[in-house]
């Protein structure tokens, strides 16, 4: 207790110096944001910010940051600032900094000072070794600030003096690529701000264990944040680009939509949709106001239904055998390895297999049926793995209690184990379906389909069954021919390249809207799967 009070008193005294470190962390964040903005073209490096071109602003901030970081480190070493540094910054930091400085010195030597290969290599080696020594040998406060601050200073001075200015470009020999200032300056700014951000967060924590903790947390939090940000940007971007094409011509009102007639066992029933949504209710036709992807949506639906009908009974059955009947031993081990191996097999290999195995056996042409079964093969291992996990998670007490009632093993499985495992199994299936619904590679070789599919080619699987007198007695031409599917159609649209606009009003809009529909279909499976899992998990913990 006493030491805690003392510590807080000591901390109060050092608030002023800690503010310096906090400001450095803030500056790094500002620079990171500036670098990102420039990288994504929001701000050009020549655009003025507060009357100065943004490259000079970057330079100024980097220089200030470098000075702040270095002076904090040196101040701490000279005991002006109260910190608790360890004897050394550690080997990992040393290797990282020497690697960075090795590259920087090598590039500066060969490109700016005009030294030859041997000369720049020597310079790089000497610098790298020097930085390694500076990082590892002195106390941690110097070792973890000096190399980062110096790099920031170097970059800042280079930007400020125009040594690396807006007109700068570097063309490495033989690469046929140019590093322009417009890319290099933001990239260097980003990288340097990460280093100084880490270094100043460490300083803020007073080095030592606490400082390392803070420095690492800054990077880890930033990483998590950027992953979420990337996801958000990807989805938001697709939505923004796809929405105009998707909602083009949507009208509401009773009777405006197309009508569907359902024939079942001689009874027929006609539905008139109360909404007309051309993009998802039309195919592609010359006379359409708005062309759409209805055949592909229906095709994807049937693919998923077929794959689920094939894989779920097989997979759940196998899982029941493995968890309830089989003794744990070599056999279950082999099956486990086989299912995990199947699960990580590349999807294109499934496509090749379907092409070699299924296509010749289903009439020798690409067909909906081979697509369904190929996707079923892909779904199977996931169903086995998740169902097994769910069944293993059912407590043995349940089984014992049921067995104590004198029922048979199968009765126990049917009325105790499967119901208890059902949430897990269903969640696994939904997530698996989301995955296969978006797969392109397997259906590329087994089903394919068209680039622009007329509405008349919408698969009508239910109505397609007919009975014949020769074996195999049942025929369904709809299953035996290729149909469109969303992922393949998007691929076909991409590879068709330019010259699409003749067929659909705006090719770009059509593509983005197709991508959006695919994304919505797949992500809604995921959303449902994740929500189901949370729901059941919460129920389980209650």
């Amino acid at each position: 207790m006493a030491s805690a009070t003392e510590n807080s008193v000591v901390r109060d005294r050092t608030t002023g110096t800690k503010t310096v470190a906090a400001v450095a962390v803030g500056l790094s964040a500002v620079l990171f944001a500036l670098g990102l903005a420039a990288l994504f073209g929001v701000v050009s490096i020549t655009d003025p910010i507060a009357g100065l071109p943004s490259v000079s602003i970057n330079g100024l901030l980097l220089t200030a940051l470098g000075v702040a970081v270095v002076s904090f480190g040196v101040g701490s070493r000279l005991e002006f600032v109260e910190t608790e540094p360890l004897p050394s910054a550690g080997l990992i930091a040393g290797l990282a900094f020497s690697g960075i400085w090795f590259a920087v010195a090598g590039l500066v030597g060969s490109q700016m000072l005009g030294l030859g290969t041997a000369g720049s290599l020597a310079l790089a080696l000497v610098t790298g070794a020097g930085v390694f020594a500076v990082t590892v040998v002195p106390r941690e406060d110097v070792g973890s600030t000096l190399p980062a601050g110096a790099l920031s200073l170097l970059a800042g001075v280079a930007f400020l003096t125009g040594l690396v200015g807006p007109g700068w470009a570097w063309e490495p020999a033989g690469l046929r690529a140019t590093f322009s200032a417009g890319l290099t300056i933001p990239a260097v700014t980003l990288f340097t701000s990460l280093l100084t951000g880490w270094s100043s967060a460490k300083a803020y924590g007073g080095f030592g264990a606490r400082g390392r903790h803070l420095g690492a947390y800054v990077l880890v939090y930033l990483n998590a944040l950027s992953i979420v940000a990337v996801l958000f940007v990807l989805v938001a971007f697709t939505v923004l680009k796809g929405l105009p094409g998707l909602i083009n011509g949507v009208t509401f009102g009773s009777g405006v939509g197309p009508s569907n007639t359902i024939n079942l066992f001689g009874l027929s029933y006609t539905i008139v949709w109360p909404v007309n949504w051309p993009f998802v209710m039309n195919g592609v036709a010359l006379l359409n106001d708005v062309n759409g992807v209805l055949p592909a949506i229906v095709g994807t639906f049937w693919l998923v239904v077929g794959a689920v009908l094939f894989a779920v009974p097989l997979g759940v059955g196998a899982a029941v055998f493995l968890t309830e009947y089989a003794e744990r031993g070599r056999f279950t081990q082999i099956v486990e390895i086989a299912t995990n191996g199947l699960w990580s097999t590349p999807s294109i290999v499934f496509g090749l297999f379907g092409f070699a195995f299924l296509v010749p056996r289903f009439g020798g042409q690409k067909s909906l049926l081979s697509g369904m079964i190929t996707l079923g093969f892909m779904l199977l291992p996931l169903v086995v793995i998740t169902s097994r996990e769910a069944m293993l998670a059912v407590p043995d007490e349940y089984r014992d209690a049921s067995a104590a009632l004198g029922v048979t093993k199968w009765e126990t499985v049917r009325s105790v184990v499967i119901p208890a495992a059902l949430p897990g199994v269903v969640t696994g299936i939904i997530l698996g379906v989301g995955r296969i619904a978006g797969e392109t590679a397997p259906i590329l070789l087994t089903m394919a389909g068209g680039t622009f599919v007329p509405g008349s080619q919408t698969a009508d699987v239910v109505g397609g069954f007919t009975f014949t007198t020769s074996p195999p007695f049942v025929a369904n031409p709809e299953l035996m021919q290729a149909t469109a599917a969303l992922p393949y159609q998007l691929y076909a649209l991409i590879s068709a390249g330019v010259g699409l606009s003749g067929n659909v009003g705006s090719a770009g809009q059509f593509k983005w809207a197709t991508a959006l529909v695919l994304l919505v279909v797949v992500l809604s499976f995921y959303a449902v799967g994740i929500v189901t899992r949370y729901y059941f998990r919460r129920k389980l913990h209650q």
Binding site: T345, L445, I494, I530
Partner: protein
């Protein structure tokens, strides 16, 4: 030698004897009718499978016999039928892996023999696939070298691993050790959804936005770089790494972490000196699985690369991306016939075998870790 093998063989003889005894007991204990149902069912299913293999149109006959017997058995002898059916389903899972192996190897064989080379007077099939670097399916001499594609796959995988490995492990640490509960509830589904975005959508965004941007920024000739394909593929492999690594970190016993924290260490010290070393094998299995995902990723690579099998100059030039094993198959299946189609199967075999080894390797690592941590608990 003999003294070593003898106990082994008597032991295995005993095991076989035990199995036989058990089988005989089973046959004696079961009603004859139920036994007949199982026998008829399995024989008809086998016949149906053979018929399907031979692409016979009569396959439907034994298959309907199988359906009928299973239906009858389900009503009359549910216990035994359920057991037999679930065993059949398990066997078919293994069978599928076997079928995949056999079929892609058989289809690949013609090209393997075509690309034979004589070494010291012995003809080695398939060696030329890896010795030469020329892929030319159009003008003689026709060559189907896999070297350019292997090079492409290695480049993409290296870059993807550099992206997915560190970021994925850091994100897994965040999710399992650092994040407060509400944040985790938000980030974890986010990572899962990242895995859910179809690869063709990644490819589409890469093709329409990233590739032109890269060509413009780096002043490249044409479009398609290994660098950006690698980054996109790394993003796609990230969720695999995160979820498997998180499982590994979670499996480190809480007592180990508490013990460390009780010594007064910071959370970060506990992570770097206790949690990460204990979960090291699991985390490396996660990265390995991510590598497997990256190797097999097809659509993003196909639409973003140049689809022209050659090796960039210099070898490490990441700004010019030509072809990977996966994109070779996806881009050429349309016009390929004969030997060229078989060559695509060769690419498939390389992919299949590599990823299978990676999968088995990571499973062994994970099993070892489970044993180790299980023992210390």
């Amino acid at each position: 030698m003999a003294s070593v093998t003898e106990p082994d063989s008597t032991e295995s003889r005993h095991a076989i004897q035990r199995r036989l005894d058990r089988a005989r007991d089973f046959v004696e204990d079961t009603e004859p009718e139920a036994l007949a149902v199982v026998v008829v069912g399995s024989v008809s299913l086998l016949a149906a499978f053979l018929g399907f293999l031979l692409s016979s149109s009569l396959t439907i006959l034994p298959f309907s016999v199988f359906l009928a017997t299973s239906g009858y058995g389900w009503v009359r002898h549910q216990e035994l039928t359920a057991r037999a059916l679930t065993l059949t389903m398990t066997a078919s899972t293994i069978l599928i892996l076997g079928l995949i192996t056999v079929f892609i190897f058989v289809e690949a064989w013609p090209t393997v023999t075509y690309e034979s080379t004589t070494v010291f007077g012995v003809s080695v099939p398939g060696l030329r696939l890896f010795l030469e670097t020329k892929w030319d399916a159009a003008s003689p001499p026709i060559r189907y070298s896999m070297v350019p594609m292997i090079h492409g796959t290695v480049m993409v995988t290296l870059i993807a691993t550099a992206v997915a490995g560190p970021l994925g492990v850091a994100a897994a640490l965040f999710l399992s050790e650092i994040a407060p509960v509400p944040v985790r509830e938000l980030v974890k589904p986010g990572v899962e959804i990242l895995a859910g975005i179809p690869s063709i959508v990644y490819g589409f965004i890469g093709f329409t936005i990233l590739s032109p941007w890269a060509s413009d920024q780096f002043d490249l000739v044409g479009q398609g770089t290994y660098l950006f394909v690698g980054i996109v593929v790394g993003l796609m492999a990230l969720p695999t790494v995160v979820s498997v690594a998180e499982d590994a970190l979670n499996s480190v016993p809480e007592s180990m972490k508490s013990g460390s924290l009780a010594l007064g260490t910071t959370d970060w010290q506990t992570m770097t000196s206790i949690t990460l070393p204990a979960a090291f094998s699991g985390v490396s299995a996660a990265v390995l699985l991510g590598v497997g995902r990256a190797i097999g990723e097809t659509m993003a690579a196909t639409v973003m690369l140049r689809n022209n099998p050659r090796i960039p100059e210099p070898l490490y030039n990441v700004f010019y991306g030509y072809e990977t094993l996966t994109s070779l198959i996806a881009a050429n299946y349309g016009e390929a016939t004969g030997l060229q189609m078989n060559a695509l199967f060769v690419a498939g075999v390389i992919l299949f075998v590599t990823v299978l080894f990676i999968s088995i390797g990571s499973q062994m690592i994970e099993a070892r870790m489970k044993r180790k941590l299980g023992g210390s608990e």
